[in-house]
Symmetry: C2
DNA sequence: CAGAAATTACTGGTTTCCTGGTAGAGGCAA
DNA sequence: TTGCCTCTACCAGGAAACCAGTAATTTCTG
């Protein structure tokens, strides 16, 4: 039986060499190439598309999340298996949305790597146990960040810088009464009743 | 001539295998052991102290910065060479303060690794080029964060939550005039003139 | 082109904040 | 025991913010 054709992608040569060594005893796996950059991957796949690609997320010239999308669209038979230290839900979901077939952490044992390669090659998904636990945890709801108009954003920034409505009016060539109206509208949108909690929320939402 | 006795420490086996492979061709280097945790290192060094220890910073059971101090104090002949992806000045300075003889990034070539090992074994220091550049960059001055008393912190938090001085007085069982005085003192300490910029700075300094 | 949204500005009022000053009591450290 | 710091509280007044309402003009979008 033809062994699974595997290509390795990681920005560190020592990781690539280590992977080679760990996969070498597996008779059903054949490591046919290694790359340290996204550019190298793109060039290599023009000549030869492997069955499975072990793909790090941190690459020097392009992040692995975007590269994954690019590759899985261009080569539908390719199975991408993320191999990373980044155990974060947002990375996992984005990689899967971009066509990855699996997500493995770098602390995986050779046996786990072998199983992951086998499963994704067979058309199945594979996740490290830790990653599965992570995915099962509820995602806190994103705060309802108010939508501000262009002028409101300007006024908010100046409020946060400590300017009074009178100061802001002078700076923006407006009437102080106009600024007061903008101020009122901003406060209403944030659902607060004074400047202190307005600025606190704006800082939390990184609007200032 | 006796080859340099080197021990490798990293939480990922694939990195350890990769390092082995990269160092194997070097006749003046002998890899005598590998460890994936701080506990393993401590046990191994009781039996045998190498000349040079390649030490990752992220370990599962103890961080490499503290381990470095522990090891260099217990084994004065041991040369510790940090090997990490963490290219941050604070890590570099802390590792060197804790007795490390060198700091190398994981993107180093085998030649660079060889040179680093040789130099630290000879009693010299070694830094990757990127690390040297990093060390030469000026460190931005830390902001002068005001020191608040216990009561001031309480009042500040409540101000940030949008309470008026009257509300705060009720909540803390104080006179509103007392709260006004605390407020004035806080504003003076921050060197601002209104609540908006007070709360913005407090958020920046992570005091609320 | 029409309708909606944004922007501008106003009236009149109340509430809150800020400023400058003062001072006594309690706790703590030298 | 003394001196300093923290906390408490007060006075008076002006500045600023907040509140509720209204409305015309400009810009944007479908």
């Amino acid at each position: 039986m033809k062994p699974i054709d595997v290509m390795l992608v990681d920005d560190h040569r020592m990781v690539l060499e280590g992977l080679r060594v760990l996969l070498e005893p597996l008779e059903f796996v054949a490591v046919t190439g290694t790359c340290t950059t996204a550019a190298e991957v793109l060039t290599a796949l023009q000549a030869h598309v492997p069955d499975v690609l072990l793909l790090d997320i941190n690459l020097p010239d392009q992040n692995g999340v975007d590269l994954c999308l690019q590759l899985t669209q261009a080569y539908p038979t390719l199975r991408v298996l993320a191999l990373t230290t980044l155990n974060e839900k947002s990375y996992v979901t984005r990689m899967m949305q971009n066509g990855a077939a699996g997500y493995v952490l770098k602390n995986a044992s050779p046996e786990e790597l072998a199983e992951a390669i086998t499963r994704v090659h067979a058309g199945k998904k594979y996740f490290s146990d830790e990653v599965q636990e992570l995915l099962l945890q509820p995602t806190p709801a994103a705060p309802e960040i108010p939508v501000l108009t262009r002028r409101e954003k300007e006024v908010l920034a100046l409020i946060a810088d400590g300017l009074t409505s009178h100061d802001i009016a002078e700076k923006l060539f407006l009437s102080a009464l106009t600024v007061e109206t903008h101020r009122r509208n901003i406060i209403t949108k944030f659902g607060v009743s004074n400047t202190a909690s307005l600025i606190k929320l704006a800082a939390q939402y990184q609007l200032i």
